[in-house]
Subunit: 156 residues, 2 copies
DNA sequence: GGAAGATAGTTGCATACGCAACAAAAATCT
DNA sequence: AGATTTTTGTTGCGTATGCAACTATCTTCC
């Protein structure tokens, strides 16, 4: 395969790629400095927060939180130890488990958010006008939805 | 701190964030399927390829390849075992080491590129016009350069 | 010139994550 | 209903990566 790929798209990719890693690392560093959990915890907790009844089945959460199923199992282990979520059996499906956000989980989300928000503002949003932000949102919506439920990664 | 952060910037961040992970995972999966090294290898090799005399000092390479110094040490260990680079003492500074790209390293870069390029095209570029790509390049250049040599992460 | 401090790269240890293999429970097919 | 296949979540194992601590070397300052 040799799809058309104008030079400017490569340039865009490169900038996008390095920006992402730098911003991501900076945000993670801010969270660590504030002794807060990392973004992977935030992502999982936030997805649960948005979900109906604040609970999601493990595989659904894995997809939302951009993790493999095994990765999610481990993450949920830790979140459960920290009392931020609880595992609950699923009545309709004996194989399945719900991850249920606890009040402490909501509270943790509220502690993380100001720091995360400040990072987004400092490292990302400052450099973008509202019109640009709107464009980014539109463009990356296309990119993300084209890949939808990511391949869900083989087995894992 | 409570920096101004209009909702649209948050939306932009979210889309950017999930797009990135999905595209990244898809590209890595393509590379793995083709039995090629992962992007971190590519990044390091490519930075060396661009460098004068195809060599860079370890810490410079760590910065370019978006890794901690310890992370880079390990990566270079593996690249050296694979004969893709060589470590060379630095005459001007007895503490320093050069990582020097080998011919085999260049060859490997050439094997990876078509697959990487196809991934960029399929998962990223398809969704963007040239004008949009130009905008992305411009916007993320601002984002990336504002953070310049990333904090270089403490010690490690 | 020598001591104190900074810097380059490496190593020990801990953590995060994925894949493959697995057990249990559906779902499907006959 | 019973056998086969699929799906769900977990576990074993390997890998990637960061931080802190370390050594060797360079720099600075007296």
């Amino acid at each position: 395969m040799k799809p058309s790929l104008p030079e400017i798209h490569l340039e865009a990719w490169r900038r996008y790629y390095v920006s992402f890693w730098r911003v991501f690392a900076a945000v993670e560093a801010d969270l660590a400095a504030a002794e807060l959990p990392s973004l992977s915890w935030y992502d999982a907790l936030y997805e649960l927060y948005l979900a109906p009844e604040r609970r999601l089945r493990m595989s659904a959460l894995a997809r939302s939180a951009l993790l493999s199923r095994s990765g999610l199992t481990r993450l949920v282990d830790k979140l459960e130890q920290a009392r931020l979520i609880e595992r609950k059996a699923c009545p309709e499906d004996g194989r399945a488990q719900y991850a249920q956000l606890t009040d402490k989980g909501v509270e943790t989300l509220r502690k993380i958010w100001p720091v995360y928000r400040a990072g987004i503002a400092k490292y990302f949003a400052t450099h973008l006008s509202e019109a640009e932000a709107r464009q980014i949102a539109a463009m990356f919506t296309r990119v993300a939805t084209a890949m939808q439920p990511p391949p869900v990664g083989a087995t894992g």
